[in-house]
């Protein structure tokens, strides 16, 4: 009897453990439709197709919770294709594991330039579906072609055509001008003018220093990407920008490049010294706080900053201001980088056709109106006319004479030991500020890495 019991107990143990193991082993399925084999791709059966859409829950979703769900519902109402939405702040962590297991969502809204670099990895692997044909598709529910609903130029850069072969792989979604943010109230109070050239910037730095305020700070080194793009554009124009972002031979030895490096190095010397100590994911808002507290005049940032710091305490009379990067020489134009988020379809998406329909639908008036509720602006003609408040001022930056810089560093095959663009070009800025890296060291590292990146260019 005793033996029988012990055997029974063990069996129960085995079974319960096995049950646990089974439960723990199978990660919650991202979507039940994902098991559909890719072979079914070419059978359009909209009625019972369910697509999975994975969208990053960024500041826009925070400003208008449920934004993405509403768009998905509108799509279902229009096309009767059901949508299973995955919307998360840490989207990479949510969809990453199941994608490693071979389960891909049909549409992913996730921009390049994020720390986890998921979109970049897909570009490097040539793992994104070609959506050039979507541009000539009709927007569901409307009689207009998709390409007619996208402002010219937005589907011509390396942001959407990463291989430079004229084919579009990533759909241009929300864009926002990046620039230098400052306390407009302080400038009025002190009677300072916003510098139009870098020389005026350095003069202002001395004036501010006398008042106990540093010229510059930055949230983290990651914010220098938009800054560097705009700087390269304002210093050398489109030609230099294109050569630099494709790592052209000898480009970093040109006087234009030298000027870019010098400006950043000089800016580093005028940067509030506490900045690098707070330039991490934990404390970066403290750096943004420096501007609110009048402890630094300018910081590079995007339009989301207003919402992000909405609750933060601030100096009396604080008023957000945003300016393009100053011109390289007197009489020149400033530049502002246009930060563009992308939506794209993984090459292994199970429902390619329905996914393309969804991407086309993102440009419909209905979808644009829903996105606009979250202050998300797509490159669709006429959308910026309806903006209000701070946003109106921000998006007017290009109307005020600043050049728009668009595009990014070209994709290159990943090579062991080479490092990412951010590691090579941007992270050393921390070192420039705290003195652990010299400008010459930084330049020579950039040159060495740039040569390797050129050798491994894709496309």
């Amino acid at each position: 009897m005793k033996k029988f019991f012990s055997l029974l107990l063990t069996l129960a143990l085995v079974l319960s453990l096995a049950a646990c193991g089974g439960g723990g082993g199978s990660t919650p399925p991202a979507a039940d439709n994902n098991t559909t084999p890719p072979a079914d791709n070419n059978e359009p059966a909209p009625a019972d197709v369910t697509i999975t859409v994975a969208a990053l829950a960024s500041g826009y979703e925070e400003a208008y919770p449920g934004m993405w769900q509403e768009v998905c519902d509108a799509f279902t109402a229009e096309t009767s294709v059901k949508v299973n939405l995955i919307c998360d702040k840490n989207l990479e962590d949510v969809i990453g594991p199941s994608m490693q297991g071979g389960d891909f969502p049909d549409v992913i809204h996730l921009a390049t330039g994020r720390e986890k670099g998921l979109t970049e990895q897909f570009i490097k692997d040539r793992n994104i579906a070609d959506i050039t044909d979507v541009l000539s598709m009709t927007v569901p529910g409307e009689s207009v072609k998709v390409s007619d609903k996208i402002v010219g130029g937005f589907t011509d850069t390396s942001v959407t055509n990463p291989y430079g072969d004229g084919k579009t792989y990533l759909a241009p979604m929300f864009y926002s001008p990046c620039g230098l943010f400052y306390n407009a109230g302080l400038f009025e109070e002190k009677g300072w003018t916003v510098p139009a050239t870098w020389d005026e910037m350095w003069e202002l730095a001395e004036k501010a220093q006398a008042e106990g305020c540093y010229l510059f700070t930055y949230p983290t080194t990651g914010y220098f990407d938009a800054f560097l793009y705009a700087l390269m554009y304002s210093v050398g124009g489109a030609d230099f920008f294109n050569k630099a972002t494709t790592y052209a031979e000898g480009i970093w030895d040109t006087p234009e490049a030298r000027q870019c490096f010098d400006i950043i190095a000089k800016l580093a010397s005028y940067t509030n010294p506490v900045t690098p100590a707070q330039a991490n994911d934990q404390d970066f808002t403290q750096n943004q706080q420096l501007v609110l507290d009048n402890k630094a005049l300018f910081m590079p940032n995007g339009t989301w900053i207003v919402g992000e710091m909405a609750e933060a305490p601030r100096a009396e009379g604080f008023k957000w201001g945003m300016t393009a990067l100053p011109a390289a020489k007197a009489g020149g134009a400033g530049a502002s980088y246009c930060w563009l988020e992308q939506a794209w379809i993984p090459a292994a998406a199970p429902n390619l056709d329905a996914a393309k329909q969804f991407v086309a639908f993102l440009y419909s008036d209905a979808a644009c109106a829903i996105f606009a509720k979250g202050n998300a602006v797509q490159p669709v003609p006429g959308l910026t006319d309806n903006l209000e408040g701070d946003n109106k001022m921000f998006y007017a930056i290009y109307d005020n004479g600043a050049d728009a810089a668009m595009g990014n560093f070209a994709a290159y095959e990943a090579v062991a030991g080479l490092g990412t663009v951010r590691e090579v070009f941007l992270d050393p800025v921390n070192g420039l500020v705290n003195g652990s890296v010299t400008e010459e060291q930084w330049i020579s590292d950039v040159k060495a890495a740039s040569d390797q990146m050129r050798a491994n260019l894709m496309g």
Partner: protein, 291 residues
């Protein structure tokens, strides 16, 4: 005969669930790491190319990897020494000396251990804040002038990580040593006292040798966990590139689209921690004393 056969069948059944799970979720993935380190692929790419030992060759020429391993070793050595010193001293004081509020101290020391790393990072972010941070304010008050140490910047950053890690780990190990110290019979101390041994002599001649087995085991634990904890702390507390450790290097390579390369880093770190534990085990081997 029949009995023993039944017995071994029973034992096999008992051990089976654990070993099957261990095999599926530990052994297989580990073997897979070794296999993948010989290939090159992105984390999400459908194809992979065999590259042999190229990943390892590149790894040992990668200055970033060398630096991050140096940081890892620095953290392991310093954090282990400091944590063990304080854990043992505090444990000895709390068990051997009559102090008011012993339980209170025990709990206070233990609390950091139950906090998640994110919470600890938040706490230390307030402590290390350059302006009006706790640490800088205290230093300013003591020295009488404004102290502005940038704790999370070079060159202090690694020291800041060490302090946070020690703070987090002390309590757990202290409680472990308190448990084994209170198992040492009081009579031993009494007779040692009669023989004229002072407090310090008692500690070195009695307490330490009698809890040595415990120290040895925890040391191995600690070294392995420090490799992991160092990554969590560095990731949560400081900027990328300031004080990278082995595992943060591994993650960065994965994010850069070099899955095979990051697995190669994983293999090196795995072997490193294995060898280090073996080494520590050997070096600390002593004749086991019975109480």
């Amino acid at each position: 005969m029949r009995r023993s056969k039944q017995r071994s069948r029973f034992l096999a059944l008992c051990v089976a669930p654990a070993s099957i799970l261990f095999f599926i979720f530990m052994i297989l993935p580990t073997l897979n790491v070794f296999r993948m380190s010989l290939f090159e692929r992105g984390a999400y790419s459908p194809t992979e190319t065999f590259v042999g030992t190229a990943n390892f060759k590149a790894l040992f020429n990668d200055a970033k990897f060398i630096t991050s391993m140096q940081n890892t070793i620095l953290l392991i050595v310093t954090v282990t020494i400091i944590t063990f010193f304080f854990a043992i001293v505090f444990a000895a004081i709390l068990t051997r000396e009559k102090i008011k509020g012993q339980n209170f101290f025990r709990i206070v020391f233990y609390i950091p251990n139950i906090l998640s790393v994110v919470v600890i990072a938040g706490i230390f972010s307030a402590i290390y804040k350059p302006e009006n941070g706790m640490l800088n304010s205290i230093l300013s008050a003591v020295s009488g002038e404004t102290v502005m140490v940038l704790w999370k910047d070079q060159p202090m950053v690694i020291i800041s990580v060490i302090i946070a890690m020690v703070w987090q780990a002390i309590g757990y190990y202290m409680v472990m040593y308190m448990a084994s110290m209170s198992a040492v019979p009081e009579s031993l101390y009494e007779s040692a006292g009669l023989d004229g041994a002072g407090r310090l002599t008692q500690f070195f001649q009695l307490t330490l040798p009698l809890i040595w087995t415990n120290i040895r085991t925890t040391l191995t634990f600690f070294i392995i966990s420090t490799i992991n904890m160092a990554f969590l702390f560095v990731k949560a507390m400081v900027a990328k590139g300031m004080a990278d450790v082995g595992l943060s290097f591994m993650y960065a390579q994965k994010d850069a689209g070099l899955y095979g390369y990051s697995m190669a880093a994983g293999v090196v770190i795995f072997l490193f921690s294995f060898l280090l534990s073996a080494l520590v085990n050997r070096v600390t081997a002593r004749e086991v004393l019975e109480m």
